[in-house]
Assembly symmetry: none
Homo-oligomer: 231 residues x 4
Amino acid sequence: MKKGSKAAEPDTTGIASNASRTDARRKYDPEQTKRNILDVATQEFSAMGLTGARVDAIAERTNTTKRMLYYYFGSKEGLYQAVLEKVYGDIRALEQDLHVSELDPIEGMRALVEFTFDYHDRQRDFVRLVTIENIHGAKYVEQVKSFKGRNVTVIHTIEDLLSRGIAAGLFRSDVDAIDLHLMISSLCFHRVGNRHTFGTAFGRDPSHPRLRARHRAMIVDAVLRFVRKED
Amino acid sequence: MKKGSKAAEPDTTGIASNASRTDARRKYDPEQTKRNILDVATQEFSAMGLTGARVDAIAERTNTTKRMLYYYFGSKEGLYQAVLEKVYGDIRALEQDLHVSELDPIEGMRALVEFTFDYHDRQRDFVRLVTIENIHGAKYVEQVKSFKGRNVTVIHTIEDLLSRGIAAGLFRSDVDAIDLHLMISSLCFHRVGNRHTFGTAFGRDPSHPRLRARHRAMIVDAVLRFVRKED
Amino acid sequence: MKKGSKAAEPDTTGIASNASRTDARRKYDPEQTKRNILDVATQEFSAMGLTGARVDAIAERTNTTKRMLYYYFGSKEGLYQAVLEKVYGDIRALEQDLHVSELDPIEGMRALVEFTFDYHDRQRDFVRLVTIENIHGAKYVEQVKSFKGRNVTVIHTIEDLLSRGIAAGLFRSDVDAIDLHLMISSLCFHRVGNRHTFGTAFGRDPSHPRLRARHRAMIVDAVLRFVRKED
Amino acid sequence: MKKGSKAAEPDTTGIASNASRTDARRKYDPEQTKRNILDVATQEFSAMGLTGARVDAIAERTNTTKRMLYYYFGSKEGLYQAVLEKVYGDIRALEQDLHVSELDPIEGMRALVEFTFDYHDRQRDFVRLVTIENIHGAKYVEQVKSFKGRNVTVIHTIEDLLSRGIAAGLFRSDVDAIDLHLMISSLCFHRVGNRHTFGTAFGRDPSHPRLRARHRAMIVDAVLRFVRKED
DNA sequence: CATGAATGAGGTTTCATTCAT
DNA sequence: AATGAATGAAACCTCATTCAT
């Protein structure tokens, strides 16, 4: 898969490095080529599914040819896996930036839920790709090396919040961190992922901007009520 | 290819052979053929998605030939829509048996959530088909005549529960029925629909039987805490 | 592989059966279609090798389309295997027609060698296909069901000749049947299979008609001298 | 890709670093690079055939890159021809060492056959490449300059043996030298070149070491019986 | 001398569908 | 009512080769 190509950083002097890094006209820029393909592929796979996506369609919207797609990613499936790797990497990276551990348990939990809500609300491609991957029994994401370890971080964040909340007498002590993560995900994911059938069934698109704030508050509320210690 | 097709087996008794409309042994039975095709198609579409499913694969597992599939359903999409129609019809039948209105608000809410949980937990084909429909923007279900009005009954049930709960001083008064339905659906749907990626990410299949009772109680708990009036 | 299709023999009355069996115009005749594809493929694979042969090229010289080729033979390799099966079947079938067991040992041996010589001399496609298959380590012919058992018959024929020759005091008793078959094959095969390099090297095409009779006699002579008992 | 290429290793001794023409450690060594490519190509072409061999596969097993392959040999076919030239050159060198003319006719003939046998038995790459060339009608070897004249020496050797044998009353006088060479080649070549199909057909690999001595004796025996004058 | 990136042309295969009986 | 045979279009992928540095 040809990684670590140093071609993009030959200038180590610092002088004029700006030019070489941003010159969109340069003929050979593998990193940019790959990124370009990956971006287009993300849209196509997310819109059409793995089987529904067309390699030709992806190539056409790319700055390169279909051939490059195989050059860099080996196969349609390889490209699909690269897309999965990218999108899962993105959400977990952003979660890290939250620094929830610096907030008190309730505010931290709120921040985590709100982040999760916002992310799913905005990153519909991510939601669709996860859905698609589940139709395939997660068999592609299983082969993505970096996948398994990467997701544990959320659980650690939640465990930290829960234990601090319990210690402060704010949270009940019988909540499992993974179950809670599942609950939060469910609430944030479903309204985006299944918005079409939901909209058709009830005449109301649950992901419509007008409902956004209300749902956000509702979900935060539901989660906090769930974890809070009753007195 | 295609062996042991029983369709060709002739009536050997000679008795009542002309009561052909109800004789299960008669040579051609359009209704049974259609049902057979529909059952196989349900599995295939649910397992592979609309684009992923193969007409040949469906035909092969059928008692008839590929040609019949077109004879009865016109096209791959037509067959897919017939599957959707059947699956949505099934759930409606069950919903009617709940008789939630005879229970007090809290027990009624519990019963509704538990029913929803159990249904999704058991009907994985349904969950998958809904997922698949959403990938296609719900454009096929929209054409299914009986679909639109069908789902409103749940909302009525929830509205009834909510208003009775409010009147009894048990429930808060600021909960929207459709939002609540969305919440319940989210919690019951996600753990089934996305169990593969979830399982891969966290090493725990959320739909595993061992977690079933715990999740069921958790979701009931979360919903009741959410609707309950705080004093 | 769809065998035993009775489509070619619907007329059982005997009347006009001649017409239906030979009517080249009939639209659907799977057996003929398959045979046609197989014949063309034999030429193409023999001329170009497995990798060198082009599916398109085969299809083009066929009465049907490329699609039918996949319909009946599944893949390029499947077609290649079918070709192998056919050509190996042909030579062994003809060998059976020799009825060598009815001749005295020396004449029988002569007849067998002459048959082997003539067959290789005429069936250059066969020789080429065997060569090609050896380049692939015989891995395709190994998967041909009928292959292994079919070849043993020659060995039985040779064993019969040898034992009768020994009993009659004509042949030496220390010749192994398989080794002898290898010897005969070598002498008949090489002059055809490697005629091009031989011709280039020595300016004389060993398979040229003018040399045919001389080589035939030479090989018979060599084999008989080899098996004959010296007194 | 391509790791551990030693080509980049600089001279660290500092001594004689400018005697670059013969220093094996120097950065660029065209002759060595060419030889390396040629060796790998010999294996690949011999294993896969001309059409079956992949330029990428050859390049990958090389110390250099694909580009170099074109730099030195122009094209895939050019490389193939270079391989042929090398391989035919190798056998000539060995043939010279035989000195058959110093032996009496029978021992000389035996020595020649044994040499031919041993050479084919050991040089499977050579056998395969000859086979491959014949599939392509020997059109590449024809363009190899040094090829044509090269093989005549064997014929002279055989002619010498034959005439000395005839003069001594040991050999028959009606044997053609080229025909005899063809016979010897046949017996030595076939058991190596077609060992795979032969092995599959008869359950016995004719090139197996255990059969080696027996076949060698058998072939010598057959040739001597053939040339010997009967009295 | 050396090379990573790039490619057009053409390869094999699969798809949902229709034909002729 | 039912079917085996047939198919055009388009899919995914691979090939030997060249470009720009």
